[in-house]
Symmetry: C2
Subunit: 245 residues, 2 copies
C-alpha cells in the first residue's frame, strides 16, 4: 500500500485578495510537495483578519498531515499571523528568547536599533520551534503540524528549503503527460473508459486554447511505475487512433 | 455608510494543487473585483473531488454575496463541477435544453459530431442561468449566488466580462501607494499609530526584498477620498521624516 501524506496551505494577505500582489507561493509549494511525495489537497487565501486565520488554521490542521502558511510575520501592525496561530492552538504568543537573541545580534552587527516593531518579529506561540531564515534572520516557526513562513517569495522559498528535510514523505505520485492535438470533445468518451479500467491512476485532461484551436494535455498520475505505464500506454494508443488533425 | 459587497472564489483542479498548472485566474478575479467595488474575502483551491467541491460551495455561498468558481466544466470524466454544484444546492443536474441547442448548432456548423462527451458540457443544475461563452460556445452557469466558469484563462476572462454587469457593486475601496525606501522595521511603530488614528482606512505594509535590500510599499485603502487622502498624507509625512537611505 502506498503511503499517503497530505498537506494544505494558507496564504495570508489582503494584498493577494485585492489583486495588488499576484501570488507566486502556491505554485512553488505545489511543485515542492509533488517532488517530495506530499499531496497538497487544499489551499486557502484569507485576509489579514484574526478570525479568518484562526478558522482556516483549525479547519485544516486537523484534516491534513501538514499545514503551511505564508505571509503576515513581519514587524508591522498588519502582521498578525503569529498571534492568530497561537490563538488557534490556544497558547500564549510571546517574545521567543532565542529569536530575540538572534535578532538583537543581527541588528547590533549592523548598527540598527532593535526597536519595538523589530521585536515583534521574535513573537511566536509558546512552544513553537524555529524555521531558520537564511535571507533576513527573522525566523518562521512550527507549532504542531503548522509551519508558519514569510510571504516574500525568496524568503518563503528559503524557509521551505529548511522545512522539507523535516517532513515525512509519502509514495511519490509519478506522472506522465500525453499531448493530444485535439480538444477534449473527441476524447471524453474513450478517456473515461481508460480511467475506469485503471482505477489506481488519476487521469486529468487539461485543455489549452491557442489561436482559436483547442489541444489537450492528458496527464496520468500513479504511485507505481507499472500502473503509470499501463495507463499511459492506453492513453497513447487512444490518441494514436484519432484522426490526424 | 459605504455599501459592502463581498465575494469568494473556488479554484477547482488537481492540476493547480500538483503544481502542473500555475493559476492565473485568482489575480484576474481579484483585480476585477477591486475595480468594480466587490471585496474578494477568501479563495479556496480544491481538488477534482465531489465532496471537497460541495463543502467549499456550501461553506462560502452562505457567507458571501457572491461565489465564483473556475475549472471542471469541460467534456471529460474529471469535469465534475456541474454535478457537484447541483448537489451542493440539492437540485438535479441535467442536460439544459438551451445549452443543448446552442452546442448542437455550433457543432453542426463545423461538421463535428455532437457526441456524449460534448453533450456533458450542456449539463447544469436545474434552474441555472447561462453565462455566455463567446470563445468556445459551451456556457458557464449561475445558480443562486454561485457563478460557475471555465478554468482556461481566456475563457474564464470572457465569461467574467459577461458576469460583471449583472453584479451589484459596493463602494469601491480606493487605494494609494506610498513607496518607502526602508524596510518595515523602522516604520512599524509610527505606521501602527497612523493606522490607529485612521480607523476608517486599511493600511497595509508590503516588504520587497531585492539585491539584499528591503524596501516597502505602504498601501492605504479607504471607501472615501477624504479618508484616503488624510491617511495617505500622514504616511507620506512619516516617510519624509525618516533618515535618507
Amino acid at each position: 500500500m502506498p503511503d499517503i501524506v497530505t498537506a494544505a496551505m494558507i496564504v495570508i494577505g489582503d494584498e493577494i485578495l485585492s489583486g495588488r500582489t499576484k501570488d507566486r507561493n502556491i505554485g512553488h509549494l505545489a511543485d515542492m510537495m509533488t517532488a517530495i511525495g506530499v499531496d497538497l489537497k487544499e489551499v486557502r487565501v484569507v485576509a489579514d483578519d484574526e478570525d479568518d486565520i484562526i478558522a482556516a488554521v483549525n479547519a485544516l490542521r486537523h484534516r491534513y498531515d501538514y499545514v503551511f502558511t505564508t505571509g503576515g510575520i513581519g514587524p508591522t501592525h498588519d502582521d498578525i499571523t503569529a498571534d492568530s496561530v497561537a490563538k488557534a492552538f490556544g497558547v500564549a504568543c510571546d517574545y521567543d528568547e532565542k529569536a530575540m537573541a538572534l535578532l538583537a545580534q543581527s541588528y547590533a552587527a549592523r548598527n540598527i536599533e532593535f526597536n519595538d516593531a523589530r521585536k515583534r518579529m521574535a513573537r511566536m506561540p509558546v512552544g513553537a520551534d524555529h524555521i531558520d531564515n537564511p535571507v533576513s534572520v527573522a525566523p518562521g516557526f512550527r507549532i504542531g503540524n503548522v509551519h508558519v513562513m514569510a510571504g516574500v517569495p525568496s524568503i518563503f522559498q528559503a524557509m521551505l528549503d529548511n522545512v522539507v528535510p523535516t517532513l515525512k514523505t509519502g509514495t511519490r505520485l509519478r506522472s506522465a503527460t500525453v499531448s493530444c492535438p485535439h480538444g477534449e470533445g473527441i476524447i471524453g468518451g474513450p478517456l473515461a473508459k481508460i480511467q475506469e479500467a485503471h482505477p489506481d491512476t488519476i487521469i486529468g485532461s487539461y485543455p489549452k486554447y491557442l489561436d482559436g484551436t483547442f489541444s489537450t494535455d492528458l496527464v496520468v498520475r500513479a504511485r507505481t511505475q507499472a500502473a503509470l505505464d499501463a495507463a499511459r500506454q492506453a492513453v497513447e494508443a487512444m490518441v494514436a487512433a484519432l484522426p490526424a488533425r
